[in-house]
Subunit: 145 residues, 2 copies
DNA sequence: CCATATGATTAGGTTGCCGAATCATATGGG
DNA sequence: CCCATATGATTCGGCAACCTAATCATATGG
């Protein structure tokens, strides 16, 4: 009856989160993408953005954005163009290829979801999603309110 | 209505898992511990183990175990002793200090749990735990069957 | 028109993991 | 008995994903 760390939700969530990330990464690999690219692709589906705005929104430093964009340019998903109004600025926009990749990534994610949820009853699934969303919201983890 | 990666459970779980791990790490820091040490401490609460057995059970490579044990020895939580029956083997056992640290770690984890769950109703909490445990079991992530 | 701020980039460091190579010890077959 | 091979621990080098600080180009306000 001693309470154990591995019984905690914190431990369970950490492990499960890591395992899920790995699985998702495997699914994305054939597309030439990695999990961290997904938030970028999705953000750019709206309008083109500067790199600093991108960095702040997804919560990494500007230098990380440089790397990620180098990679995304490498697979032809995004295009950097100097902002003519402010020539310091790189406007990053999605290519058609990028839009397709973003869709494929969403499909990959959905596949992982299906695998994760396969053992759960429908009401369990929705309860899980609601609970996790509530927690993530409370912890201020979600990109768009 | 377009399905988005960030709407997926996979993405949510990855993010939440990482955030939770960071939070847990902050709680453990004053103890001189990190999340990855916890599984080791807990495993050793049973009987002393060799490092290879440790590695296999927690799912990391032997070289990682070496590092972790160096750290745990550094805070006085474990002791390595050559197995007299097989002198290649290091028998790793918990010290009294280690037992106390393990308890403190469990308390830290419980605190994080409380924070995570604070916004949820009791029935939501148990539903969440059941769902996560079911998934983790299905994915073969739990140390002890 | 110069001081200062801002956007992107580069360089270098840290953490946590991995695989391959190394070293000591054990064990079984000739 | 002794050597080939296996096993346990360790070391070393590498990789991924982040960070900070320094640098460079361009803007902007006094």
């Amino acid at each position: 009856m001693t309470s154990q760390v591995t019984d905690s939700l914190a431990f369970l969530l950490s492990k499960l989160g890591q395992a899920t990330a790995e699985r998702f990464a495997e699914r994305l690999a054939p597309l030439g993408l990695r999990p961290r690219h997904c938030a970028v692709l999705q953000l750019l589906e709206g309008a083109p953005l500067g790199q600093l705005a991108l960095a702040r929104t997804i919560g990494v430093t500007p230098s990380v954005v440089v790397d990620m964009l180098d990679e995304l340019e490498g697979v032809g998903a995004v295009r950097r163009t100097r902002d003519t109004a402010d020539r310091r600025r790189q406007l990053v926009e999605l290519t058609d290829e990028g839009r397709e990749l973003s869709l494929s990534a969403a499909r990959a994610a959905a596949q992982v979801d299906a695998e994760l949820l396969s053992g759960l009853a429908p009401d369990q699934r929705s309860a899980l999603r609601r609970a996790l969303t509530a927690i993530a919201t409370a912890q201020d983890l979600l990109p768009r309110g």
